[in-house]
């Protein structure tokens, strides 16, 4: 049986993939959308945040993106991509469980994966990557537990802490991860504090000027940490305990407690560890672009800490170094869902052009403008140094794969 042929195969039905599929299908191209989840939307529909005076609800965005698809878009949901081979000339073979498909152009919109925080005991059932708690509660109204500890001061952790308000969680604390050789990318605790002040994410509004003041000023910061209340500050329904680190998760068959230890204003352990009961632990180690397919498909890539890791180099219209292969969304660097949607549209037009369609100049301007706007309005950056990393990525891309 020969695989079905499409103009475009979109891998990943998250915000970027859906937006691209919308552009391509409305332009009259035969599109296949593949995702390993049973429903489209990716992580989008568990997301929710305030945008100025309004609320930005990912679930509504999914509905909008799906209803904007032209009829005739084909779906392969609950389907993983095993490999991508071939070329634009002969068509890209997209190997799927039970068969495959051929696309003249392929969009890689595979999103991001979470970076773990490997503390002893993190393999116990009840220890979740923080995104899993988001899916449980925001997605399906299943509370993650009653007493929880979030380890790590990543923005996603703060966002989830806020979302868990109303989930029936009796106590929730955010604590620091202990330094480890395997998480050297996080730096020392003072470096993590400084990053927190830089991002100022999740901080109550009144704290933001303070955070800005403290960022980059080691002396002031140490003083502030010396004054930091041992029991932490209330932030978005959780206690933010910057002077505690989680040494280990304890339990037999699942999480029963967490071993904690105080640290001094320099981030060094102070005093004897103790345990506190908990029935769930969320690890907020951050996100990284999930680039398995971009690596396997052999597109040129570069490493950018500010983008979250290894990402493909792309033209301004999101074409990779291999003709016909495009990338959009978090696979290009961890940014907001609105950025992913804008990138998806841009890549969609890029693919239309690649497929021989004509793209009116105002479409490009519109798509590029939307991307700029989404970036300017981003409520927070997922990694420090995002702006600088984006510039470096742009410059490297321009040099290696073109404007």
């Amino acid at each position: 049986m020969s695989p079905k042929r499409f103009d475009a195969v979109v891998v990943g039905a998250g915000p970027a993939g859906l937006a691209a599929a919308g552009v391509l299908s409305r332009a009259g191209y035969a599109v296949l959308v593949v995702d390993e989840a049973p429903v489209p939307g990716g992580r989008l529909w568990a997301q929710w945040h305030r945008l100025g005076s309004t609320v930005w609800d990912g679930a509504h965005e999914v509905d909008r993106l799906v209803s904007a698809l032209a009829p005739g878009v084909q779906w392969r949901l609950s389907t993983s991509v095993e490999a991508i081979a071939g070329s634009a000339a002969e068509g890209f073979q997209v190997d799927l469980a039970r068969g495959g498909a051929v696309g003249r152009a392929v969009l890689l919109a595979t999103g991001a994966a979470e970076v773990p925080l490997p503390i002893p005991g993190w393999t116990l059932p009840g220890v979740l990557a923080v995104g899993a708690a988001q899916t449980l509660w925001k997605g399906w109204h299943i509370p993650p537990g009653r007493r929880g500890i979030i380890v790590g001061t990543n923005p996603l952790g703060f966002a989830v802490a806020q979302e868990l308000l109303g989930a029936g969680v009796e106590s929730l604390a955010i604590v620091m991860p202990p330094p480890s050789m395997a998480t050297a990318h996080l730096g020392s605790l003072p470096q993590q504090w400084d990053r927190l002040f830089e991002l100022a994410a999740g901080a109550p509004r009144w704290a933001q000027p303070v955070a800005r003041l403290l960022h980059g000023r080691a002396g002031w910061q140490r003083m502030a940490m010396r004054l930091y209340p041992p029991g932490g500050l209330a932030v978005s329904g959780a206690r933010l305990q910057l002077r505690r680190q989680a040494l280990a998760v304890e339990g037999g068959d699942c999480v029963e407690a967490v071993t904690l230890q105080s640290v001094d204003a320099a981030g060094l352990p102070a005093g004897a560890p103790w345990t506190e009961p908990a029935d769930f632990v969320l690890l907020a180690g951050g996100l990284r672009p999930l680039g398995e397919l971009t690596a396997q498909a052999g597109v040129q890539r570069g490493h950018y800490d500010g983008l979250g890791g290894e990402v493909p180099l792309v033209t301004a219209r999101l074409a990779t170094s291999r003709a016909g292969l495009f990338a959009a969304g978090n696979v290009l660097g961890v940014e907001s869902a609105r950025v992913a949607i804008a990138q998806g549209r841009l890549a969609g037009w890029g693919m239309v052009a690649h497929l021989g369609g004509s793209v009116p100049a105002d479409r490009w301007r519109e798509a590029e403008g939307a991307l700029e706007l989404a970036r300017r309005d981003a409520p927070f950056a997922f990694q420090p140094g995002l702006g600088a990393a984006r510039l470096r990525h742009r410059a490297d891309s321009e040099r290696e794969v073109g404007p």
């Binding site: 095993e82 490999a83 081979a85 190997d95 052999g298």
Partner: protein, 394 residues
């Protein structure tokens, strides 16, 4: 070479170079091993761990393999945990038409003094209860063993270092220096000169490229092989099983099989590993130096495995990988001195048997350099035996 310990440079830190280094450093020779990449980074980390006699032609090749097995058994105690074990191995028959050649194979090996046995239907299925019911019989070789290939390389190198060998990874060789018809050492790409009384080139499929600047041509070609690794799920017996047709593929003999099995030279290899996964092989193709796995080959390997193990339909493929066997036209490695350049040796071209034949190869190179009597005739391994083919492949 009197008055001081000889000095040898070995080029290529795969299993062959590591075994040569191990033998020489154990004999007190000062060895420097260099590799252009990480240690064991080529074929030795893209292969299985078979140490087999069962698939060797009766006679010289089987004798050489047997010698290597015995040497390895001696070395194993010194090398520590390299997952070495000796479970024996089996060749399963795909059909009744293979019965007669299989019995002839066993008879020929037994005449050479090897302990092969032909297993009738009942015994075959008692030992391998997961085999398809229509497998008519099997061949058994009790001495065959297996190990973890990269652990083997790492252990050989660790012991060699302990005995004074220098091991330099990521040190590409720019030139092999020859002075007045003698190998004088190597020059590294970073400008370092290594002086030596002898140079051994053990660079696997890269050997022809290393030797080409000296005008030495060898018909060693990369014959790619794929392997499939399962998840740690159900397993299908604790013995290593290949199909008798494996020999047909290996020696290019006629086989009646489906087109993709034929096209990729696929023959069943089933090997349970200590880690709890199992490995499925194999394929044989001339496909250049590309080691990116081809999903079509992985599928063909699994399809072939299901012909012998129908229950495997419940198992899960975790990954696939491909490596490059250093093939030679007569399926015999090239081990010995290079005619016309004194002190220059080649140890390469082991096709799919590098892991199995590393020990005997190390021993032979040691015997050449230390002027000891080799344990078997060396003429079949000679560098100069390819005069005619060389013209063809050069």
């Amino acid at each position: 070479m009197t008055g001081r310990a000889p000095q040898v440079v070995v080029v290529g830190a795969g299993v062959i170079g590591a075994a040569v280094t191990y033998v020489l450093s154990s004999a007190g020779v000062r060895v420097t091993l260099v590799d252009r990449g990480p240690l064991g980074g080529g074929t030795s980390s893209r292969c299985d761990g078979n140490v087999l006699v069962i698939d060797k032609d009766p006679g010289y090749q089987a004798e050489m393999a047997m010698l290597s097995q015995n040497l390895l058994r001696e070395w194993a105690g010194d090398l520590g945990d390299i997952e070495y074990r000796r479970p024996g191995s089996y060749l399963a028959l795909a059909g009744e038409d293979e019965e007669e050649p299989a019995r002839a194979w066993v008879d020929a090996q037994c005449r050479e003094g090897l302990a092969f046995r032909y297993l009738e239907y009942e015994e075959t299925h008692r030992v391998m209860p997961d085999l398809a019911a229509d497998v008519p019989g099997s061949v058994y070789s009790p001495t065959d063993s297996t190990l973890n290939p990269l652990a083997y390389v790492a252990a050989l190198l660790a012991k060699s270092r302990h005995r004074g060998a220098q091991v330099r990874a990521r040190s590409p060789v720019a030139e092999i220096r020859v002075e007045q018809g003698r190998a004088a050492g190597v020059g590294l790409a970073d400008g370092t000169a290594l002086v030596a009384d002898a140079v051994v080139v053990a660079a696997g499929v890269w050997t022809p490229a290393v030797l080409a600047p000296l005008g030495v041509r060898l018909p060693i070609r990369p014959r790619r092989g794929h392997l499939v690794v399962s998840t740690k799920g159900p397993r299908y017996g604790d013995v290593k099983v290949m199909e008798f047709g494996y020999l047909m593929a290996k020696f290019g003999r006629e086989r009646v099989v489906p087109p993709d099995v034929e096209r990729f030279g696929v023959a069943l290899v089933y090997e349970p590993t200590r880690a709890g996964n199992f490995v499925l092989g194999s394929s044989r193709e001339f496909a250049g130096m590309d080691t990116e796995p081809d999903p079509a080959v992985l599928h063909a390997i699994v399809k072939r495995a299901l012909r012998f193990y129908p229950g495997m339909a419940r198992a899960t493929v975790l990954r696939g990988f491909a490596g490059l066997r250093p093939w030679t036209p007569d399926h015999v490695p090239v081990v010995g001195p290079v005619p016309g350049v004194e002190g220059l040796y080649v140890a390469a071209g082991h096709e799919g048997d590098g892991i199995g034949l590393a020990a005997v190869t190390g021993r032979l190179i040691g015997d050449f350099i230390l002027e000891r009597t080799p344990p078997l005739p060396v003429a079949p391994l000679a560098v100069g035996r390819f005069q005619e083919e060389t013209a063809e492949w050069a």
